[in-house]
Symmetry: C2
Subunit: 278 residues, 2 copies
């Protein structure tokens, strides 16, 4: 170990997960082979630290436990136990007693209102996690670019998707971005409002609504870019859109929470606004 060693060891330990990640990044690249293996493995499996023993983490990284111990010390902790405490605390703060509460709500019995709330909360949370896990960043960036360049954004979404579309309309309005909600009021399709330089953002979940598909086809025929927000698999829509964003929404019963779709839509809207300003 080089001479600046003492300096590293004397620095105090990261107090937050973010600080931990920062130091991990700072160290990467200037470490001997085994320690680098530790760093790599830990970066990829941070969530396992809270519940695993040194031996387990070390095995996962393919190093002997003593190497992992050295790594912990280089990170500024006195040892593995201290490092683990950081992750344990983060984990327990994350779930104050949410799990218990959920369980208690469910305990009321099937059909009880509180049980239903618990189920929908659970479905929503899982949807959020699925979104974070499966997000296609490339597609998202592409969608942002497309929509940021559009003069006017046309929003389509009927039935289940209508709440998402209408919320987007509200948000775009607040952000000062020209957007038109195709709501089908009075049976009008507003096709003629699609003009060169515009773009279409359609939200539809399988089974896809006829109106949405028609509008998308129409937009494509006119050469307008189309972004579709839908659920996987989206094979059928491949020919209809330039960019396809998918969200896996976990349903409870026949109803979906829309949480993930709304979160993605919201992020999309804010990102478009940011991009436009610059």
């Amino acid at each position: 170990m080089p001479k600046e060693d003492a300096a590293i060891l004397l620095r105090d330990a990261p107090q937050t997960i973010d600080a931990f990640r920062d130091r991990l990044l700072g160290l990467s690249g200037q470490l001997p082979r085994r320690l680098q293996q530790c760093a790599d493995h830990i970066a990829r499996h941070m969530d396992q630290i809270a519940l695993s023993t040194v031996a387990q983490v070390a095995e996962g990284a393919g190093v002997p436990p003593s190497a992992m111990m050295r790594f912990c010390q280089i990170m500024g902790f006195s040892g593995y136990a201290e490092m683990q405490r950081l992750f344990r605390e983060a984990l327990s703060r994350a779930t104050p007693d949410y799990a218990t509460r959920l369980a208690n709500l469910k305990a009321g019995g099937a059909g009880q209102p509180s049980t239903l709330v618990a189920e929908f909360v659970e479905a929503g949370r899982q949807s959020m996690e699925a979104l974070a896990r499966d997000l296609d960043e490339t597609a998202l960036n592409q969608a942002v670019t497309t929509l940021a360049q559009a003069r006017t954004i046309h929003l389509a979404g009927f039935r289940r998707s209508f709440p998402v579309a209408s919320y987007l309309a509200y948000v775009f309005d607040k952000l000062g971005i020209p957007a038109i909600l195709h709501d089908g009021v009075a049976g009008l399709a507003h096709r003629s409002s699609l003009r060169p330089g515009d773009a279409l953002l359609a939200i539809t979940f399988s089974p896809y609504s006829e109106e949405t598909l028609t509008l998308a086809t129409h937009a494509r025929d006119q050469g307008l870019p189309v972004v579709i927000l839908t659920d996987p698999p989206a094979n059928q829509l491949a020919g209809l859109a330039d960019t396809i964003l998918t969200v896996t929404e976990i349903d409870f019963g026949a109803f979906r929470s829309l949480s993930a779709a709304i979160a993605l839509a919201l992020a999309l809207a804010v990102a478009v606004a940011t991009r436009r300003e610059t």
Copy 2:
């Protein structure tokens, strides 16, 4: 310990959290004092088991560690370690590497689309947890009763709340429950559609929209029951509604995810449908 003891000990351990809770309930009431204390404390703090030592849990329950050990064995486990494993596994399955992924998304830098998604996901998840934590079951049951008795349910919700109201309209339609969405199209207030035997379900977040308040007042004047779904504090609305349901929605930036509001609304709708059928 009574004679059926052997039978209990030989039963194998619960394999899931739900099975665990079942046995806990089954045992409650027929246990000696100290063991009952264990059962009570554990029922209330199940989420702490994964990360605590026997000594800590025992102290929390106000019993010596040995009592807690006996309790674990009565529950069918070989000891505390085996019981803890159940909770640890549940905990780690719940977060495969959601936390890591979120962190990676955020790492992209402020303003990046993926960072925004991470933020909204985080906000949504927190909202869900807040809903589960703060749900007023009494108010919820009351709301269900009120709405289940109504001939027609009138839905009001403008601006931010409109997506929630429109989703409710969709869901009630699918459930075969008569509901009218007051969408303000053509500037009509549809006041005359409020008839005896109906009920109003209004969704509004502060600052409350004028139209919604007007409609609620109108309904009350006619003696119709009013249920309001809003955010805390709801003091101003006290005089306007028979039942007030509150959801704490965590916003990111100026926008709220609506996750919690939608989850609650959905649960309400399904509960009303269930109640009607019976």
